[in-house]
Amino acid sequence: MTPIQIGLLGVLGLLGVGCYGLLITRNLIKVVIALQILVKAAVLALVLAGDAGGQAGLGQSLAATVIVADTMVAVVGLALAVQVRRRCGSVDVSAISTLRG
């Protein structure tokens, strides 16, 4: 197997674990952790795609942008989790929902 194929296996594994975590967890902080895992798979996929397509610089620049965006998503998500905990006393996603039915 070539390094790109092995890296694609890693991308699929990280993507699967991230999706599974998003589906099974209800804790807001664990949701942020699952999103982090998903985005690490996306970063790895971008770099691998750039290498495979012969445009490594383009893939790496997009990967850097995705890393910055992912960090900001984590910051805002954690700020939301802290404020929700202070106001509602819980970080359970289903406990803070006001939708019924």
Binding site: P3, I4, A74, V76
Partner: protein
């Protein structure tokens, strides 16, 4: 040939380690342990990026993904509390596993069917790609960093909960650091606890009278 096999073995070890750490991060009961496993995933991904030749992205991933995000997560856990009681999943676990496997298989089929040019070894540098082709990305990164600074302010902001003093009057803007769960009266914070205690004392005095 031996070098190629050695590289493949290193890649395989890193991939397996990253996936195992990611799975442990999702299934661990304590959130702090999940954070440590997430940092391990970041380190493994950064090493893979370095081996693929993306040196700058590897450094960014290691410093931001394994450093800054871990520090932020630990701070948020210290504020929120390492609550080990994670309620049941939103959907049944077999359904979640099935959906995840279906997604992974479909993406794998799409990815492996793409034509690949392979590693040529002569890439345009990242600096040219970033500052000449993707200038818009740089501006977007600046805006995102500004939004992240605002998010940090929200993360560090203290809750301004109304505090009830011993005479039953509501104070203005007293900062409360202690986080209390919702009480019987439906309010949170130290003020609510003080109000509950005051009500109990009044009831006791009435009983004695």
């Amino acid at each position: 040939m031996n070098t190629l096999m050695g590289n493949a073995a290193i890649y395989l070890i890193l991939v397996v380690g990253a996936v195992i750490c990611a799975y442990r991060a999702m299934t661990e009961a304590r959130i702090l342990s999940s954070t440590i496993y997430l940092a391990c995933v970041s380190a493994a991904v950064a090493m893979m990026l370095y081996l693929l030749g993306a040196y700058q992205v590897a450094v960014i991933e290691l410093s931001v993904g394994a450093g800054l995000v871990t520090v932020l997560l630990v701070y948020a856990i210290s504020v929120v509390g390492d609550d080990a009681s994670d309620p049941g999943p939103v959907i049944p676990r077999p359904v979640a596993v099935g959906l995840t496997l279906l997604t992974a298989v479909m993406l794998g089929y799409m990815a492996y069917s793409l034509p690949s040019k392979g590693l040529t070894g002569r890439f345009p540098p990242l600096v040219n790609a970033l500052w000449e082709q993707r200038v818009l990305d740089v501006w977007i990164q600046m805006v995102l960093i500004f939004a992240g600074v605002l998010g940090i302010l929200g993360l560090l902001a203290e809750g301004k909960l109304a505090r009830v003093d011993a005479h039953g009057h509501e104070g203005n803007g007293h900062k409360t650091v202690k986080i209390a769960p919702p009480t019987a009266c439906g309010f949170t914070g130290a003020g609510a606890c003080a109000a509950d205690g005051l009500q109990k004392e009044v009831q006791k005095e009435k009983v004695h009278a």
